[in-house]
Amino acid sequence: MRLDVLNNGYRPGTKLLFALIRLVSRRPVPDAAKLVFYRSDFYGSRAKKFTHEAMRGPSAWSVGDRELMAAYVSKVNESVFCISAHSATARRAYQDELKVAAVLADLESAPVEDGLRATLRMLGKLTREGTVGAEDMRQVLSAGVSRQQVEDALAICAAFNTTNRLADAFGFEVLSPEDFEAGAKFLLKRGYR
């Protein structure tokens, strides 16, 4: 990572924890996991709470849908680490290899429900252009998405616009496909807490 403190600035107890994770998982500790341990009172503890609430808290959206939204927002931001991490998690949650790839390749022709497609379209516009209007929201609502579901999707959008920026600014190291799969398995089992 681009800041030395994010590579080496951890307390002894945290360093020991990282060593233990490497030993047990036989995989590197992903930079996304490291970041939330550095001075966790400043960012990590509250960021984890918010992201967990958005991604695993009560919602009419499935975990697969939410991971797909995370992957889609990451795609719009061209955030390589996050695209890989959340595509892998969405594929595993849906138990469907093709759906996620199809959405990221071409949302309009992808085999997803109209409500999800309209929501992803709105999140993409908001992320890309920085704003959306009432008409954009009406299109989502008229595709059968509830007001609460729109709010839930906006929380995911905020969580991943933050994470994408930190991944790219701090320079998260891109993992191997096997390590991203292991990360996906972890996120489905444990969430973001």
């Binding site: 681009r2 403190v5 009172d41 960012y43 918010f50 390589v80 709010e151 906006l154 905020a158 920026r165």
Partner: protein, 107 residues
């Protein structure tokens, strides 16, 4: 129409409040400028402007320039986070406002 603040929004506000108003190595004024991506002086405007608007294009050189201007690693850690959360807050607010507008016109 006033929406009840849901748990997700409350958790985001708690993060916002901590990074802006809690203790930090960068001054609260600097953190507020990073968060709003406004009023930043050189060379921080380069790095933090990129974090806000084109994060995939941040480079090692952006960090080197900021360090050369005397910013510590911990100040940069905080200010990059403020810039990232600030842009996300603007998106979140813009989305919620548009949703309110759509609901008002309907109702």
């Amino acid at each position: 129409m006033v929406l009840t603040e849901d748990k997700k929004r409350a958790a985001f506000r708690a993060l916002e409040d901590r990074i802006l108003n809690g203790a930090g190595r960068a001054s609260p004024e600097q953190r507020a400028r990073a968060f709003s991506n406004a009023g930043l002086s050189q060379p921080l405007d380069g790095l933090l402007g990129s974090v806000a608007t084109r994060p995939a294009q941040v480079t090692d050189a952006d960090f080197a320039t900021a360090r050369a201007a005397g910013l510590s690693e911990d100040e940069l850690f905080e200010l990059v986070i403020c810039a990232a959360v600030g842009q996300s807050a603007r998106l979140y607010d813009a989305g919620l406002a548009a949703l309110d507008d759509a609901a008002e016109e309907d109702g």
